[in-house]
């Protein structure tokens, strides 16, 4: 066992730390999408290879060689410093990797550079009212009419649809094919006529996601990634990446550090919360779990570097990461007690109300990206070799 990354990586880490310290003031805090601070921070990070590091220069990336350890160090250091890394969002985290893997040359040139630069914002149109966990049963249809797809149907839970320029969208193009083989992956502009967006307020009271309705939306035929009927395969090429990124242990670790401080600041009676053995025990329990997931992450990294098997440790990370984070944020609220009820414009907020916000937000992430129950199905079936869920059975659907 050897946990050192090697001297050249120690240097790399130190350079990155210096960089973050030097530029900390420029880092955007809650900057709106496409705003100048957000875009110029992104540009600076790409230049230095701290985001979009391995994406070729011709597509607007940094053009660096793949290097898992550098990627790991970048994740660790931005989380540690509590400074935002590069832009996220579904365009950058999901669409760009998909295009790199399966897009045409033209699509890569057209879409990747503006997306990386933060000028082109995307939303992910997968879920529908009747296709959530069972995504492959989606019904939004696209029929070819001359040189155009004509799209009808609706999507739901579409994060940032109201801010997005484009959507990557799963639609049914082969209504007679088996359900996984009838889906295609289309890209189109959100200002195309026939699209209506209705905001859905989530429990944090932020209008983060939306319902999106399509009525005879016409989209050029070539705006498809992969072939007709291969959309399920295209979408799945990167679903694993999304899962890996939810409940990131580095971010949880830095929340843990802050939670310890918070528990030294908050009091109950005349006692600091940290001095109360009940709260302290809860903290220690959670700390052991945070450590476990952090080392689990290192184990997955090591297995990638050394080509060893880490299927199970990887499979459990979304389930455990999101549930633990929700629990950690919840302990902070209990540590604050009634102060933890404060919200919005309250002058009594601690840390800008981030605990309340994240507590709720991570409940959303326990659901989004494949619910905890779906993760457990995956772990038992693919990890432990237990039988697949039984197929559709008439007797279990609701009777109208």
């Amino acid at each position: 066992m050897d946990l050192s990354y090697g001297p050249q990586y120690d240097t790399y880490r130190q350079e990155l730390r210096d960089f973050i310290e030097r530029h900390r003031d420029q880092a955007p805090r809650n900057a709106p999408l496409k705003s100048d601070p957000a875009k110029s921070w992104q540009k600076l990070l790409i230049e230095h290879g701290y985001t979009a590091r391995t994406i070729p220069k011709e597509y607007g990336g940094h053009g660096g060689e793949p290097d898992l350890l550098k990627a790991q160090i970048i994740g660790e250091e931005f989380a540690r410093a509590q400074v935002p890394g590069g832009l996220g969002g579904q365009g950058i985290s999901m669409l760009v990797p998909t295009l790199l893997e399966l897009g045409s040359e033209e699509q890569k040139r057209q879409f990747i550079p503006p997306t990386l630069a933060g000028e082109m914002v995307w939303c992910q149109g997968y879920s529908e009212p009747n296709a959530g966990s069972d995504l492959a049963s989606l019904r939004t249809s696209a029929a070819l009419d001359g040189d155009e797809w004509v799209i009808n149907g609706s999507k739901i839970w579409t994060s940032t649809a109201h801010l997005a320029d484009w959507i990557f969208c799963l639609v049914r193009t082969e209504p007679d094919a088996p359900k996984h083989q009838g889906i295609s992956f289309l890209l189109f502009r959100m200002d195309t006529p026939g699209i209506e967006i209705r905001p859905l307020v989530d429990m944090t009271l932020a209008p983060n996601f939306n319902e999106v309705f399509f009525t005879d939306v016409r989209v050029p035929k070539e705006q498809i990634v992969g072939k007709r009927g291969e959309g399920w395969f295209v979408a799945n090429a990167i679903l694993g990446h999304e899962r890996d990124s939810l409940g990131d242990p580095n971010a949880t670790l830095s929340r843990m550090t802050r939670l310890i401080e918070l528990m030294k600041e908050e009091t109950i009676g005349n006692e600091r919360i940290i001095d109360n053995p009940v709260y302290r025990d809860r903290l220690m329990k959670i700390q052991a779990r945070v450590m476990s997931l952090r080392f689990n992450d290192l184990r997955v990294l090591s297995s990638r570097l050394n080509n060893t098997d880490a299927r199970l440790p990887r499979m459990i990370s979304k389930l455990q990461g999101t549930e633990l984070r929700h629990e950690l944020e919840g302990l902070a609220i209990d540590a604050m007690g009634e102060t933890g009820l404060m919200y919005g414009a309250s002058e009594f907020l601690r840390d800008g109300g981030s605990w309340q916000n994240q507590y709720m937000y991570f409940l959303g992430l326990i659901i989004g990206g494949g619910t905890s129950q779906i993760q457990k199905n995956i772990i038992s079936e693919r990890g432990l070799g237990m039988p697949r869920e039984p197929k559709f059975d008439q007797s279990t659907t609701k009777t109208n």
Partner: protein, 360 residues
């Protein structure tokens, strides 16, 4: 960067597991449980032949001189097979303590006998961590007086004892003024006893006992956590295997989502724990500043996960899980023993808090 078991560790595990599969079956464990608990010579000799018994004894004394992590991954195999041998005491804690705190003469005296498996050494350390009751032993004129409980291995040739001042001593079986009383307990793979001493002669380890004790306990906790890890993994494997073969309602019960999710939850708890334990073992060998913190967390967290797995895996087996016939309870009890022995999770989490200056 390589965070995983080494080739050597994997091959040691393979050898030990193969031996235990063949020679230390559940039937053999049952035999031991029903016996007077004297050393299981056949299993012990096999482990001696594999070289495992001398894993932590320095090479110059005839051992393998390997690391705490190497010793811990062997312990994982023993937990996996609920093997009734004095491994933690004789092969892990005693050689570490004697190598660190013993004089040259004491090392010459004990270490070769540990390495060749000719002598066993039990542990009388329970009063030094999370002590229950008012027991304890004190030194007077170089002799020990007092009562110490939850001492491992009633048939050991020696015991390693921590006195009230946290200094370490070796006491010989059959020493003058020494009474040994068996303490019947739930887990019959690890017998316990009480020692009553009144001016009992002992061989005191001279070099800074208290400080050594802290370091030795870190190794003990980590090794116990690995024992639980092995036992928990076995329970999960047995549960999945049972569920794949047991039919109810015209289906294998492994096809019921409730059963699948129980198994998934066990796996989801075990895997990150394994990662934590690997780091705890690594930190011990690197003697890093956070070794003590991680040893505390490893034992406490693995105790919680072990308890969850022990209960859940039993439930997956239905009524059979509850029987002596199936014998799953040997793993259940092994995990229960490891949870309490040398400090339970609440106490260890408090030690973890103290290690970070979060508690006094």
């Amino acid at each position: 960067m390589d965070f995983g078991l080494s080739e050597l560790q994997l091959s040691m595990q393979e050898n030990v597991n193969r031996f235990l599969d063949e020679e230390a079956s559940l039937d053999r464990v049952r035999e031991f449980a029903a016996s007077d608990h004297s050393l299981a010579e056949d299993i012990w000799t096999g482990l001696v032949n594999l070289g495992v018994v001398g894993v932590l004894v320095p090479e110059q004394y005839g051992g393998l001189g390997l690391s705490a992590m190497d010793a811990a991954v062997i312990g994982e195999c023993l937990g996996n097979h609920v093997t009734p041998v004095p491994y933690l005491s004789t092969c892990v804690v005693a050689p570490r303590a004697i190598a660190l705190a013993g004089s040259d003469a004491q090392k010459d005296e004990y270490l070769p006998k540990i390495a060749d498996g000719s002598k066993t050494i039990g542990l009388a350390l329970s009063e030094a961590c999370a002590a229950r009751g008012k027991n304890g032993a004190s030194v007077r004129d170089g002799k020990l007086t007092g009562t110490v409980s939850f001492v491992s291995d009633p048939h050991a040739d020696y015991w390693l004892l921590a006195d009230r001042d946290r200094n370490l001593h070796v006491i010989a079986q059959g020493a003058q003024h020494l009474e040994v009383k068996v303490m019947p307990q739930v887990d019959r793979t690890r017998p316990l006893c009480e020692l009553t001493l009144s001016d009992t002669p002992c061989d005191s380890l001279t070099n800074d006992g208290a400080n050594v004790l802290e370091r030795v306990l870190d190794v003990a906790w980590t090794t116990l956590a690995f024992d639980t890890l092995g036992a928990a993994q076995s329970m999960l494997d047995q549960a999945v295997e049972y569920a794949m073969n047991r039919e109810q309602f015209n289906r294998v019960i492994a096809s019921f989502q409730a059963v699948k999710h129980m198994c998934a939850e066990m796996a989801a708890e075990i895997e990150p724990s394994r990662s934590l334990l690997w780091y705890a073992g690594y930190a011990l060998d690197e003697a890093s500043d956070d070794a003590h913190l991680h040893a505390c967390h490893a034992k406490a967290h693995m105790a919680e996960v072990g308890t969850f797995v022990a209960r859940t895996a039993t439930v997956v087996h239905g009524g059979m899980g509850f029987t002596d016939l199936l014998g799953l309870h040997y793993w259940f009890k092994r995990i229960g023993f490891n949870r309490q022995y040398l400090g339970g999770p609440e106490w260890l989490r408090e030690q973890a808090a103290i290690a970070q200056n979060l508690a006094a």
